[in-house]
Symmetry: C2
Amino acid sequence: MAGRRTDTRERIEQVALELFAERGYDKTTLQEVAERLQITRPALYYHFRTKEAILGSVVDRIGESIDELVGWARGQPATVESRREILRRISELLEDQWRPLFRFAQVNQGAMRDLPAGERLRAGVVSMLSLLAMPGAGAIKQFEARLAVFAVVLGSVPFLFDIGLDESERAAVALEVATKLISDD
Amino acid sequence: MAGRRTDTRERIEQVALELFAERGYDKTTLQEVAERLQITRPALYYHFRTKEAILGSVVDRIGESIDELVGWARGQPATVESRREILRRISELLEDQWRPLFRFAQVNQGAMRDLPAGERLRAGVVSMLSLLAMPGAGAIKQFEARLAVFAVVLGSVPFLFDIGLDESERAAVALEVATKLISDD
DNA sequence: GTCTATACTCGGATAGAC
DNA sequence: GTCTATCCGAGTATAGAC
């Protein structure tokens, strides 16, 4: 790819991420994507074979991002403190980088149902949820470990937990509840 | 409505619920809906003004179902035991009736984004999540109360918590974790 | 290698006959 | 209450300009 002369492909991905998150995959027209990029509709077909291929490409990026976190977390020691550190890291990523990606995934989860990239993303999410589970633990503890990750994620969804807190306060509360869930009691 | 001679409208809703849940709203064509009902495509337009109206009608039914639960729960006394009873009831509904509705909502959550019925459904879900929250409690307790409801719901999603348990075992574990979350500790 | 012009197909929607 | 005919718009394919 070193010889490529334009960055159109990446710009398409960028615009698609925005539009698909805003209006949803199926309600977004390739006309709109092309217009925002100031190119013509068929020009998109030079870079991607189909509309679905654009979606797949965007979803792949999100998958990579999650796999990266999972890779890092798996390298951490299996102590209680490092499990808390993992939760903090997830919370941080949600606030700094993952918010738009997360929104995209939520809105388009129907559209990526039978995509290979969608399958891979789901696998990544499952891995992430399992990150804090101690292999030998009982079913209750296993469930709590997964729920802890979920709690942190849910803390970043505004409308579900509208308890009169702003963004970062809500994230802090979610993190605290999650931490409690993985501590022995 | 007493004088109506066929039940086509309800049959359309029924088939739409099935197909939209299986294949997603946008990937389902009205042709398929019509075929399964043994009528022609434009015939659907006698009963519903648009494809979206069919979706709205289905979503409305789900909203009613949730509102019904919320209404019942609000009539319960504010004791710890009755809050546990509410969790049990939700768990029961998920296993007996809500599974297909829940799947539908998950797959099509993008498609119902700007529908009035979708807005109402979201409001219902928020009400349901808030059901166990004690008004005067602090942010942590408020969050835990909502997470408890979420835990029960998540217990019914197979792939997220694949910890080698069958359906009803997983529901039982989720219910136990949820109950622990709303108990004082 | 990158894009435009043009044309084809199919699905959602409407008007009006029966 | 349902069907026939028809329109329109979006995704897609291809030829060819630069």
